[in-house]
């Protein structure tokens, strides 16, 4: 008897689109998998999950999952997601995009959506460089490393601490994991899904093709090993200590978890109630 083997996340994937564009050894596949697993374990209706992405390697994720997917312009998935979520508060709106997309060209939207506490989950895939365009320096590239536009090493572009940026701007959930810590990542996505407000999960990913190759990690496994050896889990860590220095240990964990802060959507609904009440009152006068 022959049984067809079906991958457990098959139903969440547009199999007809495979093979995907990601390089072998890219961290994206693992994030992709962890996300689908989280949705499955939470028993969420996949119809109600919407993926919005920007431009870049990770931006392509919206096209491979079988959820409704919107692949927007470079840096703009967050305002797109905000508009969609405000129009359809019943949906789970998830932004998945890269560090360049969300923190460089889209940096303004990132901090303002956090300030407003827009009710979306942002999965920030940090691979330390611009993979899609050939490996240029980005807003999270650690100092000293080589990229195609820092051929002498990155001496000029100090990186953002994305965790602290998100926390300081008002996010209600901020966590960081790596693609080596998939179980934690899946659990963290589940936690974030059950919260309301602006939630950010930074996932340190691997880009052996562009980043690893130029920084003595040409083998995909060495990239993973680097993350395994340098990521240190800390309970209730301080966002200010989440800097990433190349070759040194860095912190992973749940940095921020605030319950009960009013989301932007709720504020908008409250405003509508106030306006309508006033309208009725003024009509009586």
């Amino acid at each position: 008897m022959i049984t067809a083997l079906v991958h457990p996340i098959e139903k969440f994937v547009r199999s007809e689109r495979l093979p995907h564009i990601w390089c072998s050894g890219c961290g994206m596949g693992m994030i992709f998998n962890a996300f689908a697993k989280a949705i499955e374990e939470l028993n969420i209706d996949p119809k109600k999950v919407v993926i919005v992405s920007g431009i870049g390697c990770s931006g392509r994720a919206s096209g491979y999952w079988a959820y409704d997917g919107f692949h927007t312009t470079h840096g703009r998935p967050i305002p797109f997601a905000m508009g969609l979520k405000l129009a359809r508060p019943d949906l789970h709106v998830v932004v998945i995009s890269g560090d360049g997309d969300l923190l460089a060209i889209g940096g303004n939207h990132f901090i303002h959506a956090a300030r407003r506490n827009v009710d979306i989950l942002v999965i920030l895939v940090n691979n330390f460089n611009y993979g899609m365009t050939g490996g240029q320096v980005g807003p999270t590239t650690p100092e000293g490393v080589r990229t195609t536009t820092t051929p002498y090493g990155n001496y000029t572009e100090p990186p953002f601490n994305a965790v602290w940026l998100a926390a300081a701007s008002g996010a209600v959930y901020v966590a960081r994991w790596t693609v080596y810590h998939l179980r934690n990542l899946t659990e963290s996505i589940k936690t974030a899904f059950q919260m309301k407000g602006f939630r950010v999960i930074e996932v340190i990913s691997t880009c052996p093709t562009d980043f690893g190759r130029r920084n003595a990690l040409p083998d995909p496994l060495d990239n993973l090993r680097y993350l395994k050896e340098n990521a240190v889990y800390v309970k209730n860590p301080d966002p200010r200590e989440a800097d990433i220095v190349w070759g040194k240990k860095f912190i992973i964990g749940e940095f921020v978890k605030i319950e009960g802060k009013e989301s932007f959507d709720d504020r908008i609904r409250r405003l509508i109630e106030i306006a309508q009440k006033e309208l009725r009152r003024s009509d009586l006068q």
Partner: protein, 383 residues
């Protein structure tokens, strides 16, 4: 002015052009506005921040114009008729994502209250220099719809038309207003809603076998509601009928052809204009927006002098009414185009008349109105 659910009551109002645009948007069903402060468009945002919540709509003041246009694209996907308003500098910032709305085929309305440019120019004074930008501002080949009001009543009427066209064609529609019309107060008649046709987008009904970009015979694909299992795929990348990205030039060809054709082949459903005393005219003055008011006065003045001159007011700027101009060009000897820019529509009239008539420009580069006497002077000069 409003009933208990916030709808404006039919009747007569004294509004500015910006007020009229805001009220017409609500009248047409707009329930989401996102924008960034910029003169001379601010009264639209201010009025909508007051009025939209009354009708259960959403107003958001965004961090910039890019976020503004992108969030209305997202909200329109979410099922709400959506609008933003801006002026030249903000309109420039929006161009990339006008292309996204064209490519994703999302109904949105963008109001550009033109002021004197280039760059920061004179923020508080009239200009009409964004006309060609409205057509070509985003990269790549595409067609756009743009309408231009010349009175406050038209600001109201054309805003409703803008929403209707955007819903019907699943495309962004631009309202090319200008500081003159936007800050002018005039009488506006708000009709009974039962007398106005409001068009809503064609919705996909069956998720089974649904393809995000498979168009019907009218070249417009039905739009799927998000979150209902349609497995929508939408991208700014060149895509096939499934919405899946492709780098195949043939896929590009088929897609772009359809995006162009859905507007070009149905131009007659879009083009609106007003012809005045053109039957026996030797000269026709063509104008639009605020400039059209002076042009019309000049034509009346010239008629009093016995000059056979007519007036053509363009309400639809894009797609350009080539055929209307060409038919006139067969009869009239000369066109004069009155506009507050360096001749952006003058060159369209030249192109569309295919050498059959001489075409002249009268206007200035922005910062002030065109006076009727200036247009009259041009008529006397070329007659």
């Amino acid at each position: 002015m409003m009933n208990l659910v916030g709808e404006v009551k039919p009747g007569m109002y004294f509004w500015s052009g910006n007020d009229a645009i805001a009220e017409a948007a609500i009248f047409a069903g707009c329930r989401f506005y996102a924008g960034y402060p910029i003169t001379p468009s601010n009264e639209i945002a201010e009025r909508l921040s007051w009025r939209l919540p009354q009708v259960g709509g959403i107003f958001v003041q965004m961090e910039d114009e890019i976020a503004s246009i992108v969030s209305i694209i997202g909200a329109s996907w979410g099922g709400l008729k959506s609008m933003t308003a801006t002026s030249g500098p903000g309109f420039s910032l929006m161009q990339e994502n006008i292309g996204l709305a064209v490519m994703m085929e999302v109904p949105i309305v963008i109001v550009d209250v033109q002021r004197a440019g280039p760059s920061t120019g004179i923020p508080t004074m009239i200009g009409m220099g964004d006309v060609q930008q409205a057509k070509w501002g985003s990269h790549g080949p595409y067609e756009i719809i743009a309408l231009s009001p010349s009175t406050v009543q038209e600001a109201f009427d054309l805003t409703i038309m803008a929403f209707n066209l955007s819903e019907k064609f699943r495309t962004p529609v631009i309202i090319l207003a200008d500081e003159g019309i936007s800050h002018m107060y005039e009488k506006v008649v708000v009709p009974d809603p039962r007398d106005v046709i409001i068009i809503n987008r064609k919705l996909a009904k069956d998720p089974n076998g649904y393809l995000s970009y498979k168009a019907d015979d009218d070249l417009v694909p039905p739009m799927a509601p998000v979150g209902e299992g349609f497995r929508i795929q939408s991208t700014g990348l060149t895509h096939d009928e499934r919405g899946y990205p492709s780098a195949d030039p043939e896929v590009q060809n088929v897609l772009v052809r359809r995006l162009l054709d859905k507007i070009r082949k149905r131009k007659h459903e879009i083009i609106d204009y007003r012809m005045y005393k053109c039957e026996d005219a030797d000269i026709v003055v063509v104008s639009y927006g605020s400039a059209a008011r002076s042009a019309k006065s000049a034509v009346d003045m010239a008629r009093k002098e016995g000059i056979k001159v007519g007036f053509l007011q363009l309400k639809t700027i894009w797609p350009f009414p080539d055929e209307v101009i060409f038919e006139l060009a067969k009869k009239v000897k000369k066109f004069i185009v009155a506009e507050i820019n360096e001749g952006q529509i003058t060159r369209e009239v030249e192109r569309a008349s295919k050498g059959r008539s001489e075409v002249f420009w009268v206007g200035n580069y922005g910062g002030r109105w065109i006076f009727p006497e200036e247009v009259l002077g041009k008529i006397l000069e070329v007659k």
